[in-house]
């Protein structure tokens, strides 16, 4: 549970940075960087002409779509991995619980208690420890 808070704070921090970057994009600071860049190249070498044009230039909408596609491919793989790990953990816990159920039942039978109840109690205890 502590981890979730830790990640949430970290994520909020990252979002704040991006929001700051995008918001400041609209006013002088970011525009300043852009203009300064243009001036820099023009001042240093006013005669330079690109000698090779892109073979294919997507329209701005297509470009955004392809960028989104790129991010989506990456996000898909990361999401798959996190889901995979989640499932793995669940299976592991389930089998641990099944094990402890078995043990609980045996112990209960030995001590002559009601087998079902004994099993459940012990499984619950075990799960608390696992968590």
């Amino acid at each position: 549970m502590r981890d979730i808070y830790k990640y949430a704070i970290a994520l909020a921090f990252v979002i704040a940075i991006f929001v700051f970057a995008i918001v400041s994009n609209q006013n002088a600071m970011f525009g300043g960087a852009d203009v300064a860049g243009k001036e820099a190249i023009a001042k240093i070498n006013p005669n330079y002409k690109p000698w090779f044009a892109p073979l294919w230039q997507p329209k701005p909408e297509t470009e955004s779509m392809l960028f989104a596609l790129q991010a989506a491919i990456g996000a898909l793989v990361i999401g798959y991995f996190i889901g995979f790990e989640h499932g793995r953990k669940a299976v592991r816990e389930q089998s641990a619980q099944a094990d402890s159920n078995e043990k609980g039942r045996h112990a209960a039978l030995k001590s002559g208690q009601h087998s079902e109840d004994g099993g459940h109690v012990s499984a619950a205890n075990k799960q608390e420890k696992v968590d």
Binding site: F30, G37, I41, I44, Q70, G74, F84
Partner: protein, 220 residues
């Protein structure tokens, strides 16, 4: 950090291609070795490549002829070595050069060098160096990832300054560096935090894999 198509004079374009090729060769061999000898690492390798896909698509405008975005190469470099990261970054850069007209075929060598080689090597050695003086794992990882992002943009500035030296190389270099720094420092911090989050998660989820990677990430 992408330099736009045609924005590097032909001799510099060729130079950066030649500089990048040996790293890609060793990287391709390293990737092949992981697939053959450590198949249980395929998934984590794919995920570290996926971070490069996601983070390098978060683009903000910056210097004309180039752009600003995080690189995401730190995770792959630290887990699987800098040459492996070079191969993964090259895949992304080819995708962007051909489909997005972002970067370009002529500047691909230079882009691979800055994002795929300089950044990952800095990440790798910063991480190892900080671990050597017993800085905590998470802190080491954050600085390695953030500094690799900065290093990529320092190299891009260097590449642009070499191509456009103007009156003096140093002057030109500091101009490009100054412009990039404004957009890049906050992005580098964001990148460090994002990659650290995943590293922290991975370390808890797959401690064995992470231990293996950190122990033998650079085994040739």
């Amino acid at each position: 950090m992408h330099i736009a198509e045609g924005f590097l004079p032909i001799e510099w374009a060729a130079f950066w291609y030649l500089a990048s090729l040996p790293f890609l060769y060793f990287g391709a061999r390293a990737v092949g070795k992981i697939f053959k000898e450590r198949p249980e690492h395929k998934l984590t390798l794919a995920v570290s490549g996926a971070f490069i896909f996601v983070l390098s698509s978060m683009k903000l405008p910056s210097v004309t002829g180039s752009s600003s975005h995080p690189t995401g190469t730190g995770l792959a470099a630290i887990l699987y070595g800098p040459t492996t990261a070079a191969v993964l970054a090259a895949i992304v850069l080819v995708f962007q050069a051909l489909l997005l007209a972002h970067g370009g075929i002529t500047t691909l060598g230079a882009d691979i060098f800055s994002m795929g080689i300089a950044g990952p090597f800095v990440a790798y050695f910063v991480f190892k160096g900080l671990r050597l003086v017993r800085i905590p794992l998470g802190v080491s990882f954050f600085f390695a990832a953030a500094l690799s992002d900065i290093a990529t943009y320092v190299i891009t500035s260097l590449q642009l300054a070499l191509a456009y030296p103007g009156a003096s190389f140093a002057n030109s270099f500091s101009i490009f560096l100054g412009i990039f720094a404004i957009t890049q420092i906050p992005l580098a911090i964001a990148e460090g935090v994002l990659l650290w989050m995943f590293f922290d998660y991975l370390q808890k989820s797959r401690p064995k894999i992470v231990a293996q990677c950190i122990g033998e990430a650079h085994a040739k």
